[in-house]
């Protein structure tokens, strides 16, 4: 009798946790972060701005520079960059305030939306990449 009560309690707690997990915005964090930090320049549909801001949508750069993207988001980018055969040269500000897990969510959102069907990142993978970011001077 006591055992089943305990099991029931545990089950209830588990159900509650799952439910509350569902209602947090965690799942859509990547989307939210994109809207907050990326969208005004890279556009709602990830198309960028012709000749000036590279696209996110179907960008070969996401695959060819997969391992550099985490640092790119944190530190920003400067200098020429070739995306889908077009050279861009506009500074992108980094978002230093993003945590490792947030960058993971953002990257996975980018890699699997806007017509992209690229490999997802694991959290530990991104952590490793971020630890190995090249020294950045302001």
């Amino acid at each position: 009798m006591k055992k089943s009560k305990l099991a029931g309690f545990a089950l209830c707690a588990m159900a509650l946790t799952t439910l509350t997990q569902c209602f947090t915005d965690k799942q859509n964090e990547g989307k939210r972060l994109y809207a907050q930090h990326c969208q005004s320049c890279h556009m709602d549909d990830g198309s960028g701005l012709r000749g000036l801001i590279p696209p996110i949508a179907k960008a070969d750069y996401l695959q060819t520079h997969r391992d550099e993207l985490a640092c790119l988001i944190r530190q920003g980018a400067d200098g020429p960059m070739v995306v889908n055969g077009i050279t861009y040269n506009k500074e992108m500000p980094g978002v230093k305030t993003l945590r490792d897990d947030q960058i993971t969510n953002l990257l996975n959102y980018i890699q699997t939306n806007f017509g992209n069907q690229n490999e997802r990142y694991t959290m530990s993978e991104v952590k490793e990449m971020l630890e190995a970011c090249p020294p950045h001077h302001e």
Binding site: L49, R50, L52
Partner: protein, 222 residues
């Protein structure tokens, strides 16, 4: 006293009908308002006093475009134009404004009666060379879309004449605060509409109004 209301009522009804008709005018007769202050000016012709309405008109101007050419009221003479204020390093609303303006450019790039004028509000950074690079990268023709720089105060005064809010603001992203408005100006340099340059639907409306204005212009020329 016996007063007959009937003719008066009938007249009122007819007047209301006429007024209502002239207000709506059907879709084909729709005209755009002239924005800004207006004042009556009296003049005497053949001994009769005539009252003219003088509308707000964009004053003369002279700025330099990405090809180092002087762009003035002469450049837009007899044409309609769309104008906005931005800066090339703007991290907030400008890319969206420019992507929407590109739609307008693509639609009217072969129409000789349409011009686009984008003023920088950061002339210290946005020199002719910077604007040239910006326009070339977007691959837009400089005889159609002029990116203008010049004297800072003249640009800011010009923004006021177009009713566009701009100011330097250290708190704002990129150091400048400005509205994302697109203003539509007719061939008489009257302002005929303002639109949110960051919103696709409103820029659709702008292009509809441009078509109306071009028709009106054709009509006037006939």
């Amino acid at each position: 006293m016996n007063f007959n209301y009937k003719p008066l009522a009938a007249a009122l009804i007819i007047l209301t009908g006429l007024f209502g008709f002239s207000c709506q005018g059907g879709d084909s007769g729709k005209t755009l308002p002239i924005l800004g202050s207006r004042e009556p000016v009296e003049r005497v012709v053949n001994g009769e006093t005539i009252i003219d309405t003088v509308y707000h008109q964009v004053p003369d101007f002279a700025f330099i475009n990405q090809d180092s050419q002087v762009i003035s009221q002469e450049t837009v003479k007899g044409k309609i134009y769309v104008t906005d204020f931005f800066f090339t390093t703007c991290p907030s609303i400008c890319p969206k404004m420019k992507s929407q303006m590109l739609r307008v450019y693509e639609k009217y790039k072969d129409n000789p009666n349409v011009v686009l004028l984008s003023h920088t509000i950061d002339p210290a950074h946005d020199t002719v060379a910077v604007l040239k690079d910006y326009a070339d990268r977007m691959n837009v023709r400089s005889d159609k879309w002029h990116f203008l720089t010049g004297n800072r105060d003249s640009i800011y005064d010009m923004a006021l004449s177009y009713f566009v809010g701009v100011q330097e603001d250290e708190q704002a992203e990129g150091g400048f605060a400005h509205s994302g408005d697109f203003m539509l100006i007719d061939q008489n340099r009257h302002i005929r509409g303002h639109y949110h340059g960051t919103e696709q639907e409103d820029v659709d409306r702008l292009m509809q109004d441009m078509d109306l204005l071009l028709k009106e212009q054709q009509h006037e020329e006939k």
